[in-house]
Amino acid sequence: MRSIQEIVARRRRQDRWFAVLGVFCTSIGIITLIALLANLLIDGLGHLDWQFLTSFASRRASSAGVLAAVVGSLLVMLVTACVAAPLGIAAGVWLEEYAPKNRVATILEVNIANLAGVPSVIYGLMALSVFVYAFGFGHSILTAALTLAVLILPIVIVATREALRTIPRTIREASYALGATKWETVWHHLLPYSLGGIATGVIIGLSRAIGETAPLVTIGALAFIAFLPDPPVTGEFPFVSFSWLGSDFTVLPIQMFNWVSRPDPAFHHNAAATGVLLIAITLGMNAIAIFVRYRMRKAIQW
């Protein structure tokens, strides 16, 4: 018969072993991430200068830049946000506040959850047949933005619903008891109080969309663009122009993919620099999302 001390010591050794194993497993993920970032930074940071940001793509790696891709990504994101936010918020509000709680609503809910899991290249195929061919939008900024908007729609819908669900029932009842209709309750109370959560969802969705490559390759985005779209502001009446929506475009991940696939290693440095830029933008957007959520939580505590 072993003493109690021995038994305890043996079981504590087990405990320590698992602690060590856990640290090891966790560090694999973290070390990989750090290595990836470090590699990218070493390769790319030296090339990331003003000249790189303000030049078009070029046949010579040293004079090539990401101007068209940066402008393309920004414009596509702008339109994506303008399309996905109203559609997603409206759908989320309808599902959460208006939809009858029956079988049809359940089927709709399950399908929206599934939609978030559909591989993005499938969205590209859908966009190719609908937006490019059926609607005749071509491989334009508009097509790209619509495709990405559909892609992130489930994220916006789910974020909207979750934000609405955190609002206590008593707040809705207070509004209805004062004679507000459903729409007045949504407009004056539910939307303002859930704006932080909704904005977080939209930003998270956009940070996913900005890195998407596959669906945009599918709709035929070009990799070599040496011009900017028409400016949205013009000198003549009516001073705003939407012709840029129909313009050819490229975006950062496509530009990066194009450079990576070239044999000349000088271009690989350009790709790394683009990667640094892309990661910086994504992390920046996520930081904004976290900040918005933090401010929101501080402002309203139910």
């Binding site: 009858p100 709680k101 008593t170 707040i171 009842e173 207070a174 008891a177 004062l178 309203i300 505590q301």
Partner: protein, 300 residues
């Protein structure tokens, strides 16, 4: 005048039986009403000036019949308290007046709740819940101000009624806050968040919000159950000051509170109105054994 219901009679015949036995026997299949008591309206003193009258009113959630055959009247510009043990249906009854149940599926109203003088049936399917909520205000169990400014909380009901005139809204907000005894504490910070107020102040803000729309009836759903004794006292004084100005129906689990503020008291048990009478009568000389047992704290 008052006919005892059979359940109480059973208790009469076996006075030594513990109350737990009585409760076990008092299953929903054998409610005071169903075993043959007369509709309670026949028993109470006549109310001359009726504001709202229940006629065979019943309410069910799905297949669960929560309220049955209620026949009572509430006097105009007086305070009526609804008391009874948890689950007796007093809050369900209160929330029927402003059709709160319509917000959730599976509700079914039967009978009538007539709002006088125009004798409109509040719970008729063709009567809009929104319209009824414009005429009746509610103060909830837990203070539930909107996460907006103090001013906007009170102004919201006015905005819903299409009031656009800023001077008029300001005037009305001030008057409502005065009526709710909150003006002196808030006049210098009207545009500060309502959440900065204490719990008792928040509840008085909710009362101001309810009064701002000139309601015909104010419904109070256990308005002090989340408050400390000092804040409770202030709310009770406030309700007292509203007597003779607006009809008040208040649900309370606190019998002393009902005694302190109510002109009329109704005792609900298992979804039936067991007793409805002047407050002093209910608490000093109840006409029903069940009422007596409840107010003396023998169950509930």
């Amino acid at each position: 005048m008052v006919t005892h219901c059979t359940l109480a009679d059973a208790q009469d015949s076996a006075p030594s039986r513990p109350i737990t036995n009585l409760l076990r026997r008092a299953t929903p299949t054998m409610t005071p009403h169903e075993v043959g008591a007369d509709p309670v309206t026949d028993q109470i003193p006549a109310i001359a000036d009726i504001k709202v009258q229940l006629r065979n009113f019943g309410f069910a959630y799905g297949s669960n019949q929560v309220l049955k055959d209620l026949n009572v009247a509430f006097e105009n510009k007086k305070v009526t308290a609804l008391i009874g043990p948890s689950g007796c249906g007093k809050t369900t009854l209160l929330r029927s007046f402003n059709r709160m149940h319509d917000l959730y599926p599976g509700n079914r109203y039967t009978g009538e709740i007539l709002l006088l003088p125009d004798r409109i049936n509040l719970v008729a399917p063709d009567v809009s819940p929104t319209e009824m909520r414009m005429r009746l205000s509610m103060v909830f169990q837990k203070p539930n101000p909107f996460p907006k400014s103090i001013f906007e909380n009170v102004a919201f009901g006015l905005r819903m009624r299409g009031v656009r005139d800023k001077a008029r809204i300001r005037e009305k907000v001030e008057q409502s806050l005065r009526d709710a005894a909150l003006w002196d504490e808030t006049k210098d910070r009207l545009h500060k968040p309502a959440y900065d107020l204490s719990g008792g102040q928040q509840q008085r803000l909710c009362i101001a919000r309810a009064l701002a729309v000139d309601p015909e009836i104010v419904l109070f759903d256990e308005p002090t159950s989340a408050l400390d004794p000092t804040a409770t006292l202030r709310i009770e004084e406030l309700i007292d000051s509203l007597r003779n100005r607006v009809t008040i129906i208040i649900v309370t689990h606190n019998m002393q509170q009902a005694q302190r503020i109510a002109d009329w008291t109704g005792f609900l048990y298992l979804g039936s109105m067991v007793e409805f009478d002047r407050t002093e009568k209910v608490f000093t000389n109840p006409g029903n054994k069940l009422t007596e047992q409840y107010i003396t704290g023998r169950f509930g």
